[in-house]
Each structure stands twice: as structure tokens, then as C-alpha cells.
């Protein structure tokens, strides 16, 4: 089909890194206005949502970021697509820094190559626009198909690519179910012929039977168009199904990073192990599980040292004082002193 040919000049399987995230930080200032601080004698309140995160995504791969609420996964997604400026660190896509290239033209070119699919397909589509206008918008904005008739054809192609009828373009978003709306959102994301798509919890608002449809579609499109995904999710079973590589976040830090198979077969970080242990699974009926103690601490005032130490069964004195660096274990990286080769 013509779309597969036009969508991506770089063929799938091309080696090399497409996205590189280095030392990414994001601090939110939650302080009261300075006069209040002066009168109430209070200091500034800062929340470190993302703390020194590094990872790289290879072309044609799916990199998944998993974490519970407050882990910083959505903040990272926003910084990667260029919706939220980082406090420190860099994001480069295909060698261009997302946040350094300030030239308008350069930024436009960059924007075209990155697209995003959001969690809630009820909020991410304009209810007053026909589907055709929604899907055609990126094509117009980037002036990819100037001819109106040809543009309409292209929208039809995109709709059939995501499993909808080209005639659906005449309808409004409210005429579709949640799963179909997410297909429209995917068609819109594909319209600018991107090479990199950030999927922020794309199936968490959907029912299981429909979730499977969307996950299969994303996988199929990746194969056909050679797309690269950053997949954000809290659902480990879903991540296991789509990811090539997985990064596990805990309170803004990437605590473990590994090829998906390795991570699920042999999780290294105590938090990853706990998380995998906690997932309710249909294959586990009637099994009494070990409950994990504690909850995620308040990110405004996280524990010192390793953030996970108050809940960790292996915590040592060192964990309470020092922040563990990244130790390489095979193809994986883990921020835990248990893997310190020089430990005594």
C-alpha cells in the first residue's frame, strides 16, 4: 500500500539509536508566593518529579516505561515530545536536541517526526470536528498534501489503516466507542508520517476485549511502518506484551532498565520484583500472596538515599544514606547496592 512506502524513509531494522534521553530532570516549584513565604516563615517547596533519567530507544523498538502513580512517567513523556521543558538534561531524537533547536523551522520539522497518543480518547478528540477534519489537521499543519481532494483520499487511507471505514470520516467522535476513538487518535498520530510515537497509557481507559484490539493494532503498525514507540503504562502485563526494552520508575528515578524478556524472567531490583509479585493474575487463582508492606511515599519529601529503602526487605545502612548509582548486570542496568561489585 502506498502509505507504507511514503510513511517512513528509514526502513525498519535500520540499526542505531533514534531517541536518547540523558540526565533528564524535572523539578516543580510548589512554593507559596514569596510574600506568604516571608510572613509564614516557610521555605520553598520543590517536587522532583524526574531525577536523572537516562535511556535510549533504538529504531523500530518499543521502549516501555512502567511505574505507579507519582513515578514521573507522564512527565517524562511530555518532556520527550516537547510539551514540557526539562529542568536539566537532554532529549535528542535522530541526533537533534528537542529542546535546543529553537529555530522555528527546525522545531516544526522535529514536531512532525514525533506524535503522541493519549490515555483518554474521550478528551483527546475535538467533539465539534468531524473525524475527517481531526485526522487531516496534522496533514494541513505540516502542509504534507496541499491538494484538498488528495488530502481526503489520504485521510481515507489512514482510516482504513487503523481498521475503520473511510466513510467514518464524515462522523463525529461521539458516534464511536472508546476503542474506535483510540483508533481515530492513532490515525491522527500517523497523519504527519512520524517515525516516533509516544503512547501515554493508550489502553488504560479501554475494556480488555478492546484493549487487545488496540495493542494488536499498534504492534501491526509498528511492523508495517517501522515505527518506534515510547510506551508509558502502569500495567505490567500489557508492557510485557508490547515492549522490547523496559524501564522501571520509582519516584522519578529509573531503578531498573533491561530487555523485556530478561526483566520479566529475572527482575533484579527489589521494587521490580515486588511489582511483578503484586500483579493480580488470572493464572494465580486461589494463591495466597505475600502482601508487600507500605505505600509510595510523598514525592515532596521522599526518603533519603535509595527512595525505596523503607519498603525494601534488603535495605542496608548504606541504602538510607547514599543514592545507588547504575550498576550494569548483563544487558540490564539496576540502581541497587545489592549489585555493587565492590561491596564488602
Amino acid at each position: 500500500m502506498s502509505l507504507a512506502e511514503t510513511a517512513r524513509p528509514a526502513a525498519a531494522g535500520e540499526p542505531g539509536t533514534l531517541v536518547e534521553v540523558q540526565g533528564l530532570d524535572r523539578v516543580f516549584d510548589l512554593s507559596r508566593p514569596w510574600l506568604n513565604r516571608l510572613i509564614e516563615r516557610r521555605g520553598r517547596i520543590r517536587l522532583t518529579a524526574v531525577d536523572g533519567v537516562d535511556f535510549a530507544i533504538r529504531r523500530g523498538e518499543t521502549y516501555a516505561l512502567v511505574g505507579e502513580s507519582g513515578s514521573g512517567k507522564s512527565t517524562i513523556a511530555k518532556m520527550v515530545v516537547g510539551l514540557l521543558p526539562p529542568s536539566g538534561g537532554s532529549v535528542t531524537i535522530g541526533g537533534t536536541d528537542v529542546w535546543a533547536g529553537r529555530g522555528r523551522d527546525e522545531q516544526r520539522r522535529m514536531r512532525r517526526r514525533i506524535q503522541m497518543i493519549f490515555q483518554d480518547p474521550f478528551a483527546s478528540l475535538n467533539p465539534r470536528w468531524r473525524v475527517e477534519a481531526i485526522v487531516a489537521e496534522p496533514i494541513k499543519v505540516f502542509d504534507l498534501v496541499p491538494d484538498a481532494g488528495r488530502r481526503r483520499e489520504r485521510v481515507g487511507e489512514l482510516l482504513s489503516l487503523v481498521g475503520l471505514d473511510p466513510r467514518d470520516g464524515q462522523k463525529f467522535p461521539h458516534e464511536f466507542s472508546g476503542g474506535q476513538r483510540q483508533r481515530i487518535a492513532i490515525a491522527r498520530a500517523l497523519a504527519s508520517e512520524p517515525e516516533f510515537i509516544v503512547c501515554d497509557e493508550p489502553t488504560s481507559a479501554l475494556d480488555v476485549s478492546v484493549q487487545a484490539q488496540v495493542l494488536n493494532l499498534l504492534r501491526d503498525l509498528q511492523k508495517r511502518l517501522g515505527l518506534t514507540y515510547l510506551f508509558i503504562s502502569h500495567n505490567l502485563a500489557v508492557v510485557r506484551h508490547v515492549a522490547t526494552r523496559v524501564g522501571v520508575l520509582y519516584l522519578g528515578r529509573l531503578v531498573e532498565e533491561a530487555p523485556a524478556r530478561a526483566l520479566f524472567a529475572e527482575p533484579l531490583h527489589p521494587y521490580t520484583r515486588m511489582l511483578l509479585e503484586a500483579v493480580p493474575d488470572i493464572d494465580m487463582e486461589g494463591i495466597e500472596r505475600q502482601s508487600i508492606a507500605g505505600e509510595i511515599p510523598n514525592p515532596i519529601n521522599p526518603p533519603r538515599g535509595c527512595h525505596f529503602h523503607p519498603r525494601c526487605p534488603h535495605a542496608m545502612d548504606r541504602c538510607r544514606a547514599e543514592v545507588p548509582p547504575r550498576y550494569a548486570v548483563g544487558e540490564a542496568g539496576v540502581r541497587c547496592f545489592l549489585y555493587d561489585p565492590d561491596a564488602t
Binding site: Q180, V210, F264, I292
Partner: protein, 351 residues
């Protein structure tokens, strides 16, 4: 033994300007004393509305239009609002998805617990506060005595849900209706809450109706499962059977669509085509027939009743041994290939 809860031919209707919608149609099930019944289904299946019908909190204009609900043998669906209020809380405890909506943000936790206890029991204020403290200890809240004077916002999500469990159990109810009790919580906290709920209800001998969309939670918690589709019963049976050997084509599709932590991650997930019908567009016959791989002639016109199917009961004609119209032979073969226990009689009659 009299079941703790018995629902017979329940029908819930919602009158609208464009006609009457049937949200629940001819639903029957029992919950035995001490049993945990899981109620699953996707959004719009009618699980929550079943729960609210049982506790008598259907939001008008929705109304019970037929059938019976019995609590330990006594009818509760026709009670006056006043009488029902005494049943709720005292004999049926409730846990909802969002703990913040169940707790009053303006009252201290201790006051809310003591108030609930005093509504249902004749105790002195001091004895009620004492009982409140013991309840908080039981649900695993550290320094329970001090936390009595805290407000709901001072608790984390998991701790709030523990308080809600304490509230639900305050009057030692016979039945606890828990509607998506862990959906708003993080995975690591979910497991704690489920384990706690299960343990406390078992200790008190309370039956539980656990409503959730999460099959994983059901698989680990429930004794039996009731699967709803478009307001109707699709399948009901022991949890192990429904999960491992589903007998309704919908349940079968649902189980295969769930990504798990086992099995081959590269395998394509099974998907059910289409989506659950809206209440104003439920197809005639079996509501699942337009999405079903095994649908044949009568599925589009006749409505299947729940029939014996393996150790479960499933509302599917493939299990109808006395049918006049047998399904096509290759449908039977395909259904058997995926594990549906089509009776021998049906297979022989198949053309």
C-alpha cells in the same frame, strides 16, 4: 442452607424520553454464607447497577421492574426507604471505588466510625470510640488510637480504603458489596487491600459480592464468578472453571484477550471484534451473537437461558442438549477445539 443473598429474575429498567432501557434483564444468582462471588464484566455490562439494586441505592429514574432480592431468606427489594436504610450498613456493608466519596471530609475518622457504630448498636460513646479504635487496628492502620482524630485527607489512598473497609465492617454485616474496591489504587497497594478484605470477611463469616472489571483480582479472590454481558448473565461457575475452561464464547474471548505475565509475549492477543452494545441497541436473541464466532441460526432470534455447561452454567445454545435446531457441525468442532464442552447429544445432532 439459606443463601445469604438470593437474586431471582432481577430486572432493572431505566425509563428515558426515547423509551424504556433494560439495564439488567432476568438475572439470577445466589451467594452462600461466607462465599466470595465475583461479578465481572466490561463497562456497560451492568455490574455496578446490580450492586446498587441490591443495596437499594438505584439512582432514579432507574428502578427494579421485576424479580426478587432476598437477604438470608427475607425480601429486601420491596422494603420502604426507611427499612432499607436500617438494612444498609447494619446487614449489608458497602465499599466503593473511590474512598474519598465514602468518607466525609469534614469529620474526623474516629467520629465517622463511632457514628456508624452508634447507628446500629446501643453503646456508650466511649465504648463506640473504643470499638472504632479496634476496627482501625484490625484493618492495619498503624497507631490507630492517634489516627482516630485525623481527617480523611491526612490518609493515603490505601489507608483511606482501609478506613472504608473498617466502616463497612463496623456493624458485622452478613454481606459486603464491594464495587471496584481496588481500581483507584496502585498495584502494590491493591494486593494488600484485597488480602485484607478477604481475611476480615472470612474471619467474620461475611459473604462478599466483589464487583470488578479486573479478572486478575477475581481469580485470586473469588470462590465463584458471575460474568455479565449487556445486562444479562453470560456465565456463572467456580472461579477455576470460568477462568481456565470458560463455557460461554464471550467468557472465552475475554480470557484470551487478557495479557498475562505468563505465556508467550510475542503471541498476538485474541481480540473480540466490535464492542459491547449500548443499552438502546441490544441485539435480539443472544446479545453477544453479532460478535460471536460460533453464532448460528437461532442465536439471532431466540434468547438463551443459562444452561449446565461443564461445572458452570452458561447462557449459550451450544450447551442446549434438547434443542430442536442443532448448530452446524463445523461450529461444534470449532467450539470444542477451544474448550467449550458441547454435549454429545448436540454434536450428534449437528448437521
Amino acid at each position: 442452607m439459606t443463601p445469604t443473598l438470593s437474586v431471582r429474575n432481577l430486572r432493572v429498567e431505566i425509563p428515558t424520553r426515547r423509551g424504556v432501557l433494560t439495564a439488567i434483564d432476568d438475572l439470577s444468582f445466589d451467594i452462600a454464607p461466607g462465599e466470595v462471588l465475583g461479578v465481572v464484566g466490561e463497562s456497560g455490562a451492568g455490574k455496578s447497577i446490580t450492586g446498587t439494586a441490591i443495596i437499594g441505592l438505584l439512582e432514579p429514574p432507574a428502578r427494579i421492574a421485576g424479580g426478587e432480592i432476598r437477604l438470608a431468606g427475607e425480601r429486601i427489594d420491596d422494603l420502604s426507604a426507611d427499612a432499607m436504610r436500617r438494612v444498609r450498613g447494619r446487614r449489608i456493608g458497602m465499599i466503593f471505588q473511590d474512598p474519598l466519596t465514602s468518607l466525609n471530609p469534614l469529620y474526623r475518622i474516629g467520629e465517622q466510625l463511632a457514628e456508624t457504630i452508634l447507628t446500629h448498636e446501643r453503646l456508650s460513646q466511649r465504648a463506640a470510640t473504643d470499638k472504632a479504635r479496634r476496627l482501625l487496628e484490625e484493618v492495619g492502620i498503624p497507631a490507630a488510637g492517634d489516627r482516630l482524630s485525623s481527617y480523611p485527607h491526612q490518609f493515603s489512598g490505601g489507608m483511606r480504603q482501609r478506613v472504608v473497609i473498617a466502616l463497612a465492617l463496623a456493624a458485622d454485616p452478613e454481606l459486603v458489596v464491594a464495587d471496584e474496591p481496588t481500581t483507584a489504587l496502585d498495584v502494590s497497594v491493591q494486593a494488600q487491600i484485597i488480602t485484607l478484605l478477604k481475611r476480615l470477611c472470612a474471619e467474620r463469616g461475611a459473604s462478599v459480592m466483589l464487583i470488578t472489571h479486573d479478572m486478575g483480582v477475581i481469580a485470586e479472590t473469588a470462590d465463584r464468578v458471575c460474568v455479565l454481558y449487556a445486562g444479562r448473565l453470560a456465565e456463572i461457575g467456580p472461579v477455576r472453571d470460568v477462568v481456565k475452561r470458560p463455557q460461554h464464547p464471550y467468557t472465552h474471548g475475554l480470557m484470551a484477550a487478557i495479557p498475562t505475565l505468563h505465556g508467550d509475549p510475542d503471541e498476538t492477543l485474541r481480540q473480540i471484534p466490535g464492542a459491547m452494545p449500548r443499552l438502546d441497541a441490544i441485539p435480539p436473541g443472544c446479545p453477544f451473537n453479532p460478535r460471536c464466532d460460533f453464532a448460528y441460526g437461532r442465536c439471532g432470534s431466540e434468547r438463551p437461558e443459562p444452561l449446565d455447561a461443564g461445572k458452570s452454567r452458561a447462557a449459550c445454545f451450544l450447551h442446549d442438549a434438547d434443542a430442536a435446531e442443532a448448530p452446524p457441525a463445523d461450529t461444534v468442532r470449532a467450539a470444542r477445539a477451544v474448550g467449550l464442552e458441547v454435549p454429545q447429544k448436540v454434536a450428534e445432532a449437528a448437521r
